[in-house]
């Protein structure tokens, strides 16, 4: 039993930190706020070269075959940098293709993702505010040549830069997952500006959008369990990113409390501030335990892996919001300014809190498991 990172893992974490500190500075993030795509192709190619995009994909398809723990390490660092881009949606969609795709689909997409030549995303949420996969309302109708999809998918992360969308839709056989070309006829993409300008969400309207017969990912009617698994995996990744954002806010708050003086002493010497910082650290440390337990459990296929994923998302969502919010309070006025970088992480944590299943969704998922 060992809860510490292996030296390889620690190395990965350090190198990610080093890379992001240099290539994803707050100034970089700010520059991309005004970019219509919101991400940098150069950066994308660089992280592909670092092997991050293929990190968890099978070696046979150009990946490194590493696990969720390593992915979480990267995501924590990305959260710490408020990294702007479709990393996690793409990797998660690639995992879906790996898990359920036909060999041809894997060949088409996985190496392309690993090399940075393709971006992808999953359209989890329908018009309703309901994260249960079975709540999808988008419908697929069979045609002579394949299917047509109609419905509205909301808040799809980074759909505007994706080369392929994974769209769940109801068919007579049940919930089915389709690979959809976002540039195809019948699709309309509308960006949805949210608080975190480095998080790009897109509403995707499908109006009898035609998809080919071979665009099914997995069998008809079989998308439910797959989507639930992806949502859990997505949740753990989001929790890792929120943890990173919280760590950054904590570090900034502690650093500020050491040097900012009021009433002739550093504010960190006042109990009000020092105790707040201690509570923030407690939340960050517990979040660390939650994220990496859940990530390990997914890799190890532990019997409580599903529970742990929901625990991580529910706990870290609350914890990160608290830590990042308190960091503003510790800073006082300066922490409320646009020029100071704190809000990058505060907003990122908040944005992720409501993605991949919000707290309500995961708390209910927990209870369904433990109070049968």
């Amino acid at each position: 039993m060992d809860f510490s990172f292996s030296s390889d893992q620690q190395l990965l974490k350090n190198s990610a930190r080093g890379f992001l500190d240099e290539h994803v500075k707050p100034a970089t993030v700010r520059l991309l706020w005004d970019d219509p795509r919101g991400e940098s192709d150069t950066l994308w190619k660089e992280i592909a070269q670092l092997g991050w995009l293929g990190l968890s994909l099978p070696e046979a398809h150009g990946g490194s075959g590493l696990g969720m723990v390593e992915t979480a390490l990267l995501l924590e660092e990305m959260g710490r940098a408020a990294y702007p881009g479709p990393y996690w949606p793409t990797v998660l969609a690639a995992t879906a293709i790996e898990l359920a795709g036909a060999e041809a689909q894997k060949k088409r997409w996985l190496p392309a993702v690993a090399t940075g030549d393709a971006r992808a995303t999953i359209a989890f949420l329908d018009t309703e505010l309901d994260w249960r996969p079975e709540a999808a309302q988008t419908r697929a109708e069979k045609t002579g040549k394949g299917w047509t999809l109609s419905g509205r998918k909301r808040f799809v992360p980074w759909a505007h830069v994706a080369d392929v969308l994974l769209v769940p839709a109801q068919t007579p056989d049940g919930l089915t997952l389709f690979l959809v070309d976002p540039r195809a006829a019948g699709l309309a993409l509308e960006p949805v500006p949210v608080m975190d300008l480095a998080t790009r969400l897109v509403d995707v309207t499908l109006d009898r959008a035609p998809v080919a017969a071979d665009a099914l990912l997995g069998g008809p009617g079989q998308a439910g369990p797959l989507l639930a698994a992806l949502l859990r995996r997505g949740a753990v990744g989001a929790a890792a990113e929120m943890l990173g954002a919280a760590r950054r806010c904590l570090d900034m708050a502690v650093g500020y409390a050491k040097v900012r003086e009021q009433f002739g002493q550093p504010i960190g010497s006042f109990q009000a501030i020092r105790h707040k910082c201690a509570e923030m650290l407690l939340e960050a440390e517990n979040s660390h335990s939650a994220v990496y337990y859940a990530a390990w459990a997914l890799d190890a296929k532990a019997e409580d892996a599903e529970l742990a994923a929901s625990v991580a998302k529910a706990y870290v969502g609350d914890a990160a919001r608290k830590v990042c919010g308190e960091a503003i309070q510790v800073h006082g006025g300066i922490g409320f300014t646009w020029e100071y970088d704190l809000h990058l992480y505060f907003k990122r944590a908040k944005a992720l809190e409501s993605m991949y299943g919000d707290g309500d969704y995961h708390r209910e998922a927990i209870l369904r498991r433990v109070a049968a």
Partner: protein
């Protein structure tokens, strides 16, 4: 104990409501000129400067009536008057501590918003610890030479005049060497730089003073009496916004309820989910308690019981509530709560900060409430020391003194 409004207040409310319904919706109120025109109209109707004595152009109304006006404006979403800081704090300071010349020169133009005022108190290194401010005002006989930097100045870019706290005696103990003087903002030595908040807008500014000139005749009170003046006269708008604020929360609550009717989960509207209901019920209870507390403050003001340090409780209470409240709203609304441009009716709300916007704006603004005008930590210090009589903190600056 009788919480019914008096017949007079009831009639006044009807009158205000009628006036606002007739006058509030006419024309845009966006440009500075439009805002000044709207202010002027409000002033002429008797709804600005309500607590000012009539001799200075005020209306000699009661705090309750003032609160009623703000409440009705909140109910209608009417645009606020301009120059709030001037009329609420700076004017009263001049009335209490100013010379006759100062009163003649400044008060009427302030009331009518012919001249806009700002406050030059906080500095980058003097926030909670305001008395450690460093801006210097050198006595040059007929004027002061002002050098330094101020921050968190509202209305900076549109201000014609500012009330300034600056150090006039660098050798005295920190509270003792500060003077209060009026500063003309339209002079070469004064530079105003907008300061953007995390909401993306810029309601505050930084103000840089480089050999700026403040006239001797604009000194308020005596030399080195500034701290005392700043501490004692900040009270004329107390309770003004107390009812209006809660009404704004209630308007937002109705929008939140509407949202929970439209958004669905598990095949039914969110509003039918017991977990959502329990949280909404709790929030509304807190909201109502803010309303009762506001009435209590107004009642105390009416009975001439100055709330004094107890107003720290009010400020702590509503700012911390507001934080919890919008946090809850965003939790319930999920990604819908994060939009920065509204697409549906329930997404477009009045943030009670003066800045209209979406739930996201309100949520972000709520983080400022516990920081500005004395952070929650400062309020708790004041409550502990001045209301509860707890012994003073052992503090570095006190040891030196």
């Amino acid at each position: 104990m009788d919480l019914n409004p008096t017949a007079e207040d009831r009639a006044f409310r009807t009158e205000v409501r009628r006036w606002l319904e007739t006058n509030a919706a006419t024309g845009d109120v966006k440009t500075l000129d439009e805002r000044k025109a709207w202010h002027r109209k409000l002033y002429e109707a008797g709804y600005v400067g309500m607590l000012w004595p009539k001799e200075y152009g005020g209306w000699g109304r009661t705090p309750m009536q003032q609160a009623i006006v703000q409440d009705e404006m909140a109910r209608l979403g009417a645009p606020p008057p301009i120059n709030g800081l001037g009329i609420g704090f700076i004017g009263p300071t001049i009335i209490v501590h100013g010379t006759d010349w100062q009163k003649q020169r400044y008060l009427k133009k302030m009331l009518t918003a012919e001249e806009i005022w700002c406050q030059l108190y906080s500095e980058p290194n003097a926030g909670s610890d305001l008395a450690s401010l460093k801006t210097r005002a050198e006595d040059q006989g007929d004027h002061f030479l002002v050098n330094g930097q101020k921050i968190w100045t509202s209305s900076g870019p549109i201000a014609d005049w500012g009330i300034l706290l600056a150090r006039t005696d660098g050798k005295a103990a920190k509270h003792k060497g500060i003077s209060c003087v009026l500063l003309h903002m339209r002079q070469p030595g004064v530079e105003v730089r907008p300061l953007r908040q995390i909401t993306g807008s810029s309601l505050f500014s930084e103000v840089f003073m480089t050999n700026a000139r403040a006239e001797r005749r604009d000194l308020i009170g005596n030399l080195n009496q500034g701290w005392e003046i700043a501490q004692t006269t900040l009270g004329w708008e107390r309770g003004a916004n107390s009812l209006g604020r809660v009404t704004r929360y209630a308007v937002a609550f109705n929008q939140l309820v509407r949202a929970t009717k439209e958004l669905r989960r598990g095949g039914k509207p969110l509003l039918e989910d017991a977990a959502v209901r329990a949280r909404l019920g709790k929030a509304y209870a807190e909201l109502e308690v803010q309303r009762y507390a506001a009435l209590r403050v107004l009642s105390a003001l009416q009975n001439s019981d100055s709330p004094g340090a107890a107003s720290s409780i009010t400020k702590l209470s509503y700012t911390e509530f507001e934080k919890r409240y919008f946090e809850l709203a965003l939790e319930i609304l999920g990604p819908y709560g994060q939009l920065v441009s509204a697409r549906e009716e329930f997404e477009d709300i009045d943030t009670s900060s003066g800045e209209p916007g979406t739930w996201a704006t309100a949520f972000l603004w709520s983080r400022a409430g516990t920081i500005y005008s004395g952070s929650s930590e400062i309020q708790k210090n004041i409550i502990g020391e001045r209301v509860l009589g707890l012994p003073k903190e052992v503090r570095a600056d006190r040891l030196k003194a």
